[in-house]
């Protein structure tokens, strides 16, 4: 009997699949099942972290599309996320059903994102970063001062989403909803990246002159990258609004933009999986530090307070250490580990 050694593809379409091997499909299936069952064995606090992860995955993967794949750095992603949240809150307050609010919030955000993406025609790298930073500040200002729509500094309350009369009014229910939406968003990015659209994005990132020569309209495609990325960010923001049920301008500050950037850098620029890993990592890290500080307190009573105070510093330190020791991101480490086990025990 002959076993297969390595992966063989009989069709080109087989090679283009997201999970190219049966092994991967089965293991992803098992992982998905475990994930779906997990909330049943968890307390509300842990489930709420899972919800936050699902939402962060949408934000990180969408930013990775724009920055990691298309090379257009954005310091305004947090504000775009906020546009989605406010659009959703406003549209929901008008009585629109959740299933309409979600894509509508995405479309509004796409329009805003494309508008603020206009400078990318002329600006690159650090200059574009500053232009998107301006977008961030302008949008924050709008959140704070357009009282009629955003409620100004007092913010907006949002009711839990309802789909065909079923209300998602608990953390567990919201977990399934956010998970489903996150999966769809990740699938969209995967699809984009295996077609001409995604290849054009990477072409623009890697060599914009050559991209033009092969027929990519730089401006149109950069705007598309901004549009799709902001659409997804808007959907993520909408989910956030429905999940937290109360939004205020400071939730969508520059800090959020930076943490999305941190997610994709730590997870791996230009990798869909990297966005997911980064979102998980950056969401869990502060909770983990909390947990540590809390439990260390049981042994050394006086240390707990100091540890809590140092949390922010430790958070920054972990990020810096990551950049130094894992500059290619978690997705790359994952790839290396997989490659190692594939050859185990014959690896050198």
């Amino acid at each position: 009997m002959h076993g297969q050694c390595g992966l063989f593809f009989r069709t080109y379409a087989g090679e283009a699949r997201i999970f190219p091997s049966r092994f991967l499909m089965v293991s992803m299936g098992l992982f998905g099942t475990a994930l779906c069952l997990a909330p049943l064995a968890m307390n509300n606090y842990l489930v709420s972290i899972l919800c936050l992860i699902n939402i962060a995955v949408i934000g990180a993967v969408s930013l990775n599309l724009l920055t990691g794949f298309c090379g257009q750095i954005s310091l305004g992603h947090g504000a775009f996320f906020g546009v989605g949240a406010y659009a959703a809150a406003y549209l929901a307050s008008l009585g629109l059903p959740f299933l309409a609010v979600l894509p509508a919030a995405g479309l509004v955000t796409a329009a805003v994102g494309m508008f603020f993406g206009l400078p990318s025609l002329r600006l690159k790298g650090i200059y574009l970063a500053i232009a998107t930073l301006a977008a961030q500040l302008i949008l924050e200002y709008v959140f704070l001062h357009w009282d009629a729509v955003t409620g100004g500094s007092s913010g907006m309350a949002v009711d839990p989403p309802q789909v065909f009369g079923f209300a998602f009014d608990s953390d567990v229910k919201m977990f399934y909803l956010t998970l489903a939406v996150a999966c769809v968003c990740v699938l969209i990015v995967c699809n984009v990246m295996r077609t001409r659209l995604g290849r054009a994005f990477v072409a623009i990132r890697d060599h914009h002159l050559s991209a033009e020569i092969v027929g990519v309209d730089l401006f149109a495609y950069k705007l598309r990258a901004f549009g799709i990325s902001s659409f997804l960010a808007g959907v993520g923001g909408a989910l956030w609004a429905f999940y937290t049920m109360y939004i205020t301008p400071e939730q969508f500050g520059i800090g959020l933009s930076v943490s999305y950037l941190a997610m994709i850098i730590i997870g791996g620029l230009g990798s869909v999986l990297g966005g997911v890993f980064g979102a998980v990592f950056i969401t869990i890290l502060p909770e983990f530090l909390n947990f540590l500080a809390h439990h260390a307190g049981a042994f050394f009573t006086d240390i707990s307070g100091a540890l809590l105070a140092m949390k922010e510093g430790v958070f920054g330190l972990v990020l810096v250490l990551f950049l130094i020791f894992e500059p290619e991101g978690l997705a790359n480490r994952w790839r290396l580990v997989k490659a190692y086990w594939k050859l185990y025990p014959f690896a050198h």
Partner: protein, 260 residues
């Protein structure tokens, strides 16, 4: 009107003329070489054709269509592709994807088909992949198919870049010094590829190259540029016999150019 028709093209950089009243033509199915000393304006001429530079005056047409009237990215659709003097690959993409991007202008499914990966996108990807595999076979790139282009050896990268331009299946391919930095064997391979591209793939070629042996061997016509002006235009034999050319370029200390 000739297939590629360059008429009276002038290009200046802040008052310094890189091209002055340049005119020449490429007939369909020909291999035409553009030669001249360093700084003669060869790359500038290709840039004018491909849209990187906009000439101050003059006209350029391809297959009867006015090239200067359309932006650079739209010229691909009119049947133009090119390679660069310095390697300009998409370093992060695999060889396969580099060639697939080469076919960008030939694919026409839209954003929605991309996002949903609908039947249309799937079928198109499959069909274009087949054409790209032909290019991969032709250029012997199959061992590198899934490797990131930026990590390959120089000679292979040059071939991948040729492959990307070839994948576009354009009518006219512009090659800017495809043999630069190659050893004798690689140079001969490259010359073979250019002849095959011309004969089997039916593409007209405008070649910029310093290796006179190759140029005189494979060209149907040679255009000599010097200080941004056309010095001579004609068959390889005519050009080699031209007194101006011999004096200005081929003769004197540069005589070594004639042999290999």
């Amino acid at each position: 009107m000739a297939f590629l028709d360059v008429t009276d093209v002038t290009l200046t950089f802040r008052g310094l003329a890189a091209l002055t009243g340049v005119g020449f033509s490429v007939e369909k199915g020909d291999i035409v070489s553009l030669i001249g000393p360093n700084g003669a304006g060869k790359t500038s001429m290709l840039n004018c054709i491909s849209g990187r530079y906009v000439p101050d005056s003059g006209s350029i047409s391809l297959g009867g269509a006015d090239l200067l009237a359309v932006p650079s990215h739209a010229r691909t659709k009119l049947g133009l592709s090119r390679t660069f003097q310095n390697i300009a690959l998409f370093r992060g993409l695999s060889v396969l994807d580099n060639l697939m991007v080469g076919r960008h202008a030939r694919m026409d499914y839209g954003i929605l088909a991309s996002i949903l990966y609908l039947g249309r996108a799937r079928r198109a990807e499959d069909a274009h992949r087949r054409r790209v595999e032909d290019v991969i076979d032709f250029l012997g790139l199959s061992p590198y198919r899934h490797q990131a282009a930026g990590k390959l050896p120089y000679g292979v990268q040059k071939r991948v870049e040729l492959g990307r331009a070839l994948a576009a299946e354009s009518d006219l391919i512009l090659l800017d010094e495809p043999m630069a930095g190659m050893n004798l064997e690689e140079t001969e391979d490259m010359a073979r590829y250019i002849l095959d591209i011309n004969e089997e793939w039916g593409m007209s070629v405008l070649l910029v190259e310093h290796d006179m042996g190759v140029v005189m061997d494979i060209s149907d016509k040679v255009v000599v540029l010097d200080f941004g002006r056309v010095l001579a235009e004609g068959s390889p034999q005519e050009v080699m016999a031209d007194a101006d050319v011999v004096a200005a370029y081929l003769g004197g200390d540069d005589g070594v150019f004639l042999g290999r």
